[in-house]
Subunit: 94 residues, 2 copies
């Protein structure tokens, strides 16, 4: 596995620890950069994942190197559209 | 009011639009930089506030210039402690 590979972890409705574990697994396999992606209410959870990974699992070894937000248009089952906020949190090993 | 003043908007449990209005009021009074602060589940709402303000209320005139996260220790009513994630989103008029 190339160390240039970027790992993506999609953060959804499961407990934060599940996504911390997914992040940990990728870093332990040699991935140097992880992007946590979330939208809507899961955004808070993505921040939890970043903070727990940074402080508890890789203290001094993992930094938040970028946080980007944006807006996606979601198409509901009935065809209606609504805007939903998205976040990408970039974690890099140091 | 000095244009160097930084406006702080604490994002809590009310609908996002309330905090968009608080942000709009400060910008219309001449404040050039607003910091949205939120913790826990309100983090998602703070991102909504930033996105709605940026895209709908000040299109092309307001940018997200920094996003910082952190962890605070919260002391519960029973004296127990738990960690809570926090976010600060810096908005600057352009």
């Amino acid at each position: 596995m190339s160390s240039e590979e970027v790992g993506i972890v999609y953060v959804g409705r499961k407990p934060a620890i599940n996504y911390v574990m997914a992040t940990t697994l990728q870093i332990n396999r040699g991935v140097k950069k992880i992007i946590l992606k979330a939208r809507g209410r899961a955004i808070s959870r993505a921040v939890d994942v970043a903070e727990i990974a940074r402080l508890k699992y890789f203290p001094g070894k993992l930094k938040i190197t970028d946080i980007r937000t944006g807006t996606d248009e979601l198409i509901e089952e009935d065809g209606s559209r609504r805007d939903i906020s998205v976040i990408e949190i970039e974690l890099t090993t140091v």
